[in-house]
Structure formats: structure tokens, C-alpha cells
């Protein structure tokens, strides 16, 4: 099966490229009751620049998923604001589409129905045009033969590709990826990363890529943001200057190795803070439970 989308003149100025610009301005967000309040994100400011792939990594349990929820508009910050092209984000919208952890394809819709879902319900696209676009995307993600299958009939890798197609068909200004390749086996994951690289390099759609895999981040990103331990702030920004188009071999270069060791050192430092005091660990559990009960 064709894992790579055929590059269609990548030089052409695409209207998707470089449109969305996301700014976090002193954003704070926490959870809990008055007596067990936990700041998850505290006074965080950062930029997701247009046309760039910004990867966000952090120690496990820092507010990575919270950041995704905030940008997507599923949750509102207590303080500060998140701006898209200068406008405050007030709720979910199809100009920022999330590709979820594991998968959030509707299991009761076929691959094709899933892909056309967004434009269809909004009614902002001509029917024929939408159909053609959906077929084109199905080809591109190598799922043409699976258009009438339901998500549960697809393998993990196919599901991720279908979900990518469902996001892209809406032509969002920003693509938000929340550990999109988590749960895939190592081989499929590698293939998906490469597939995704081609997809990104072709359109240069602004991308916020949250991951816990440092190598994944280095291979994909233009800019690597390392978050601190909770309450989350930006700990370090590293510009990844590996040339594009990229591929897996670049991870073996000296340069990539340098990025990796720098990032790992910082991450390790941050992760160690979690274990410093027993009190912290306890409150982590409390927080984890209250989060779980909310859902």
C-alpha cells in the first residue's frame, strides 16, 4: 500500500500555508475545588508560528493535553488569552482541527462519511466538489479501497490516516495533533511519521504537534518547545534547523543527536522535580482522579 502521498508540486503557493498564527498570552488554567486547587498551566506564553510545525514536549503529567483543549476551545483559560490571528479563541471551530490521541473517528460512520462529515454538516462546500475532494484525500492517504469500511474494521495506522484526511478536508488554518501516533506499533508509527512529514512539507499548514516522543518531535518540528513540570510553563525553545524535506536518516546525524541530548537533559531535570517530594506525588494522584471523574 502506498504510504506516501504523491508530492504535487510542493513549490506552488498553497493558500493553507502560513495562515494560522496562534499566540498564548499569559495563559493560566487549573482544576479542582478551592481546597485542592491545582494550577496545571501557569502564566504560559508561547507562539505557534504560521507555516511552521511546532512540537510541544514535556514530562508526563504536565499539561500537554490541557494545552490542546485550550487551543481547540474545548476549555477556557482562567487567565490570559489564546489568539488565532489576533482574535481570541472562544470555542471549538473548524479553523482549528484536532487529531485526537488514539482516534476519534465516529465508529458509526464509514471512512468516507467520516471524511465528509465536517463540510457536509456545515454545508459550506459544493456537494460534487466535496465528493471529489474526499476521493482525492482517500487516494492520498491510501484508503480508497476502504472508503465503505467502518473505523473498527481498519487497522490502527489506517485509522490515523483516515482521521488526518477528515481534518484536512476542512482546510483548517491550524492542525492540532494530540499525540496522534500514540498506541501504534513501532513500525507503523515510523511509517505514519514519514507519511505525516510529506503531508506537512507539501502544504506547510501551521501545526501544533503535542507528543511525548522526543525523537518524533525532532524529526518533525521546526520549533521544539519543552514544557516545564506542572504548573506548566515554557522551559526551553529549540529551533530545529534540520533541512527539509526530511527523512528518518537525519535522526542519525550529529546535529539531531545534539538536539536530542539537550532536550533529554532538560526533560530529565523537569521529570525529576515530580519525584522530589512525596506531597507532590500525592497531589498528582488526587488531581488525576478528579480529572478522571470529570470525564
Amino acid at each position: 500500500m502506498d504510504q506516501n502521498p504523491e508530492p504535487e508540486n510542493p513549490q506552488s503557493a498553497d493558500h493553507a500555508a502560513g495562515r494560522g498564527h496562534i499566540e498564548f498570552k499569559n495563559v493560566s488554567k487549573g482544576y479542582g475545588e478551592e481546597w485542592d486547587w491545582q494550577d496545571v498551566v501557569l502564566d504560559l506564553s508561547m507562539d505557534v508560528e504560521p507555516g511552521k510545525l511546532t512540537a510541544v514536549v514535556g514530562p508526563s503529567g504536565c499539561g500537554k493535553s490541557t494545552l490542546v483543549n485550550l487551543v481547540a476551545g474545548f476549555e477556557m483559560p482562567e487567565k490570559g488569552a489564546i489568539l488565532l490571528n489576533g482574535n481570541r479563541i472562544t470555542g471549538p471551530s473548524h479553523d482549528r482541527i484536532v487529531v485526537f490521541q488514539e482516534t476519534a473517528l465516529m465508529p458509526w460512520q464509514t471512512t468516507y462519511e467520516n471524511i465528509i462529515f465536517g463540510p457536509k454538516i456545515r454545508g459550506d462546500m459544493d456537494k460534487q466538489e466535496l465528493h471529489e475532494e474526499a476521493i482525492r484525500l482517500l487516494d492520498k492517504v491510501g484508503l480508497r479501497d476502504f472508503r465503505d469500511k467502518y473505523p473498527l474494521q481498519l487497522s490502527g495506522g489506517m485509522q490515523r490516516r483516515a482521521e488526518l484526511a477528515r481534518a484536512i478536508v476542512n482546510d483548517p488554518e491550524v492542525l492540532i495533533m494530540d499525540e496522534p501516533f500514540r498506541g501504534l506499533d513501532a513500525m507503523t508509527r515510523e511509517l505514519m511519521q514519514e507519511f505525516f512529514l510529506r503531508l506537512f512539507e507539501e502544504h506547510r499548514r501551521t501545526n501544533l504537534f503535542v507528543t511525548s516522543e522526543i525523537e518524533e518531535a525532532i524529526m518533525l518540528a521546526d520549533k521544539l518547545i519543552i514544557l516545564s513540570n506542572r504548573p506548566t510553563r515554557v522551559r526551553q525553545i529549540i529551533d530545529i534547523e534540520l533541512p527539509r524535506p526530511r527523512d528518518f536518516h537525519m535522526l542519525a546525524t550529529e546535529e539531531a543527536y545534539r538536539y536530542k541530548s539537550t532536550a533529554l537533559e532538560i526533560l530529565h531535570e523537569e521529570a525529576m522535580k515530580t519525584f522530589k517530594t512525596e506531597r507532590n506525588t500525592q497531589s498528582d494522584f488526587v488531581e488525576a482522579f478528579s480529572r478522571r471523574n470529570q470525564n
Partner: protein, 293 residues
């Protein structure tokens, strides 16, 4: 992976429902499942027969045995007036089925929308949930006098009583079904620009369907057993009436005939519900088929 690829081969034409049925039936007949089912029933009959008719075990000697019941059931001229050759028998089955049909339709027609709304709207749930929870534990029998006061004739109260219990089951299961839907589907739908009615139509309803159909299977069974209570009210026909009437007249064989018939007809109705359910949830049926379930 290998499995999904074999599925890919026949994607051009998904077989029709009947073809699938035939294939499944053939495959099923090659497994041991149906034979064990028959064997199970036979074993059960043999134990019954031994206890009542051969050994005449203490406390069982007065009970009608399977041979007695079958003889009566299959006799063209039944001693106690009820067998598969009498028109009355079918009248009882028909009347009960008709009542169950109405009761089940009303319970589903009210229960599913009610449950969906309760699951979907927090405010609506706040209003209605306490009422549901208060009404639910009240036994059907307690409603009998009120049902007679509320409705005229025979049919009204019977259908009302048979509806009640199913309505609770359906509503509660539908509500749980909505609760069971993963938050990420709501978020995905929101992200893609859904208005509330899109969410209701494309997430809430299909997402709750598996639970709804589990609920409907229980609900149709519950309707059958509240029917006996309900048909105590009515003095003409129905399997529940047949059982009660035989009990009143102290004849056990027609009573057992009524019980066995009710059991089989009830089984049949829940099979129908299951078949309709799996037809409506192809996404689930096919995924389960991949796992050979």
C-alpha cells in the same frame, strides 16, 4: 492486518442481508453450538420427565410432566380444551402478541426519546430523573387498580401495565447509552463545526444505539412478564390470562402450556429485536464479525 486485508477484497460488493444470513447459518450448523442448544433443551426435558413422571420425586408427583403436557399440547381433541389444534390457543398467542406489540412500541416510542433527551440535556435530566427513579421501584401489580380506573375496557389497562415496566428499562438504558459515549466524539463533532442538533443526530443517537438495543431486548422480556400481571385484569384472552385462568380453575396442564408457549414466543420476540439491532448497527456487527463474534 491480514484480517482487514481479506475484508478489503470483497469491499466492492457487500453481500446482502439474506446472503449473510445463509452463510452464517451454514457456518453455524458446522459448529457445535446449535447441537448443544438442542441437547440442552432435551436434557432439561429429560430431567423434568424423570422427576415428575418416572421417579415421581416428593413434591414433584403432582406436577404435570413433559409427556403429559406434550400429549395435551399435540392432541387434536385436548382433554382440557387447549392444544395447538384449537383455535383458542392461537387466539391466546395472537392477543398477547398484539398487546406486547403495542406496549413495546409505546414504551420504545416514549422511552428512547426520553432517555436521549435526559442523557443529552442536563437540565432535562434534573427535572425528570427523580420522577423516573421514584416510579421505577413500584411493582406493576400495585398499578392494577389505578390502571382499571384510568382506562376503559380490557385493552387499555393491559397495555398500560405492560408498557410501564418496559418504559423504565428502555429509558434508563438509553440514558446510560448517552452517558457511555466517549467525550472525544463530542469534541471531534464540535471541532468539525457541529451545531447542537448535529451533535444530537450524528453523535448522541448512533452512539447510544448499542445500549438502546440491549435495553430493548430486556424491555421486550420485561413486557412479557408484566403481561401476566396485566392480563389478570382482562377476562378474555391472552397467554397471561390462560395461565391465571388455569391457576384459578386448579388445572395445571394448560397453565404449563401457557408458560412454555409464553417462553418460546418471548424468546422469538427478543430474537427479532436482536436482529433489527444488528442490522441497524452495521458498524458494530461488522467489527464484531472481524473478531469472529
Amino acid at each position: 492486518m491480514a484480517e482487514t486485508e481479506t475484508v478489503a477484497a470483497d469491499h466492492q460488493r457487500n453481500p446482502t442481508g439474506f446472503q449473510v444470513f445463509v452463510v452464517r447459518l451454514r457456518r453455524n450448523l458446522r459448529t457445535t453450538t446449535p447441537y448443544f442448544a438442542v441437547l440442552g433443551i432435551v436434557l432439561w426435558l429429560v430431567v423434568w420427565w424423570l422427576l415428575c413422571e418416572v421417579l415421581k420425586a416428593p413434591r414433584f408427583e403432582k406436577m404435570p410432566g413433559p409427556v403429559m403436557v406434550l400429549k395435551e399440547l399435540l392432541s387434536p381433541e385436548p382433554f382440557l380444551g387447549i392444544s395447538i389444534f384449537t383455535e383458542e390457543f392461537y387466539q391466546h398467542v395472537y392477543v398477547s402478541c398484539r398487546r406486547i406489540f403495542f406496549a413495546f412500541c409505546i414504551a420504545t416510542g416514549l422511552g428512547v426519546p426520553l432517555g436521549l433527551l435526559m442523557g443529552w440535556s442536563k437540565r432535562f435530566r434534573e427535572y425528570t430523573f427523580p420522577i423516573l427513579e421514584t416510579l421505577r421501584p413500584i411493582p406493576i401489580l400495585a398499578w392494577v387498580p389505578l390502571a382499571i380506573l384510568m382506562f376503559r375496557g380490557f385493552e387499555g389497562p393491559v397495555i398500560f401495565l405492560a408498557t410501564l415496566a418496559s418504559l423504565y428499562v428502555t429509558t434508563l438504558n438509553t440514558l446510560l447509552g448517552v452517558d457511555s459515549i466517549d467525550e472525544s466524539y463530542f469534541r471531534a463533532a464540535g471541532c468539525l463545526g457541529s451545531k447542537p442538533h448535529h451533535v444530537f443526530l450524528h453523535v448522541v443517537i448512533p452512539g447510544a444505539l448499542p445500549f438502546i438495543f440491549t435495553g430493548l431486548q430486556i424491555s421486550v422480556g420485561v413486557a412479557w412478564f408484566s403481561l401476566v400481571a396485566a392480563e389478570m385484569v382482562s377476562g378474555d384472552y391472552g397467554l397471561g390470562y390462560l395461565i391465571i385462568d388455569a391457576y384459578m380453575n386448579n388445572v395445571t396442564i394448560p397453565m404449563v402450556i401457557g408458560m412454555v408457549t409464553l417462553g418460546f414466543v418471548g424468546w422469538g420476540t427478543s430474537v427479532i429485536v436482536r436482529v433489527v439491532g444488528s442490522r441497524m448497527m452495521q458498524w458494530r456487527t461488522r467489527a464484531l464479525a472481524l473478531e469472529n463474534r
